[in-house]
């Protein structure tokens, strides 16, 4: 630790640093500098700084592949004066409607495992040969590649992900000790960790089951087996699993290297 504190002290006492700071390099890489010529000249002769700038460029590409601009939330425009006026006018009606809602009999909240309405989505990124790319359904992958999953759901709180392969195996990808994994609703949320693909070649279907309450993983696996059998063992032909959950997924094509 003394070395690190020494490094902090050295930075404090640095009169004229040998290298430009990382912030200046980042501004250069972003094309922000009005006159980049002096820094460009330094980069021509300094492998350390040139390497850092190149790395920042690769960093941007990797980041955008994982989290493209489409995943960025847009600000909600503030309601116009006319809209606010309309809200003010309909306000009393809404209050009356709310009171009526309390007075009329209604259905009980969704019990465990009941299907919730709302769009769900499952996407993925693949790391193959050290390169990370955004995956698309039907992508060719290889044994040993790592897959990280990305989900979207407006409201579900639990998730199990299984894979159905051409050998007839149904393998849990994501669960929590034999039950659904607790998740937060959201858009394009990455699941922690990654799955290393095994050596089963051919098509492989990855299915995510989103539910309001936890499901037993064994039940999902069993439903997967039934669906795979009904599809003649072809993961590409598998329909929705017979389970009380909303489902999303994709098919990969796994080939040897």
């Amino acid at each position: 630790m003394d070395d690190e504190i020494g490094a902090l002290e050295a930075r404090l006492d640095e009169a004229s640093p040998a290298h430009p700071g990382r912030h200046l390099l980042a501004r250069f890489e972003a094309g922000e500098l009005d006159d980049p010529s002096a820094l460009a000249a330094h980069l021509d002769v300094c492998a350390r700084c040139a390497g850092l700038v190149a790395e920042m460029g690769r960093d941007r590409q990797a980041f955008l592949a994982l989290r493209p601009p489409a995943t960025l939330q847009r600000p909600t425009p503030a309601p116009s004066l006319a809209a606010r006026l309309r809200l003010w006018l309909v306000g009393p009606t809404l209050v009356a409607a709310g009171l009526a809602w309390w007075l009329v009999p209604r259905e009980a909240p969704a019990p465990a495992g009941v299907r919730l309405k709302g769009a769900v989505d499952l996407g993925f990124h693949v790391r193959s040969d050290g390169e990370v790319r955004r995956g698309e359904p039907g992508d060719v992958v290889h044994p040993g590649d790592q897959v990280q999953l990305r989900y979207s759901t407006p409201q579900h709180r639990y998730l199990v992900v299984v894979s159905l392969d051409a050998r007839g195996a149904v393998t849990p990808f994501y669960d929590d000790a034999g039950r659904s994994l607790a998740i937060e609703p959201g858009t394009a949320r990455l699941l922690d960790g990654s799955v290393e693909l095994d050596d089963a070649l051919g098509p492989e279907r990855v299915v995510a089951c989103f539910s309001a309450a936890p499901l037993e993983t064994a039940r999902v696996v069993e439903a997967g087996r039934r669906a795979l059998t009904a599809a003649g063992g072809d993961p590409r032909a598998v329909g929705p699993l017979d389970l009380p959950c909303d489902q999303a997924g994709f098919v990969l094509e796994k080939r040897g290297r």
Binding site: G21, R22, H23, G31, G186
Partner: protein
Amino acid sequence: MDGDPSLETLYVQYGHHVFRRCRYLLGSEDAAWDATQEVFLKAERARGGFEARASWLTWLQRIATHHCLNLLRAGKVRRGRGTVGPDALDAEGRFAEGSERAVLVRDLLACFDAQTQAAAVHYFVDEMSQEEVAAAVGLSVPTLRKRLRGFVERARREGARVLAGAAERRS
């Protein structure tokens, strides 16, 4: 970049810097992603306060740093143990935020007031100049030097104890 870039242009140009700043301070991939979204929303709302000759990177880094430090102080996020997965951005040590110096600075932040926290991150991690940091956090350069000196002195006095506690929380 033109004078009034769209939110998408800012994201493409600077999103990776903002995300790495958030992940460095919050220590969790999920929390960093949520924070990145919030930083860009804040930036969009505060766009009118951006000065035409200023740096978009400096401005966004300042918002991101301030936002994450606020989350930590308010206890809305507990610092995580780091990230996993095939994320090309995860290679420890490749970036300033992964260096041992940056980890030391991060673990010491809780001992200081908000202004000194932001100043330490901008100076020791971003490697901004003292003039840039002073402008970013609203201090004079002499006062900034005094604060940074105090940061290092406290690190010297209490660093071992603070780092041991941080390591225990992470394990």
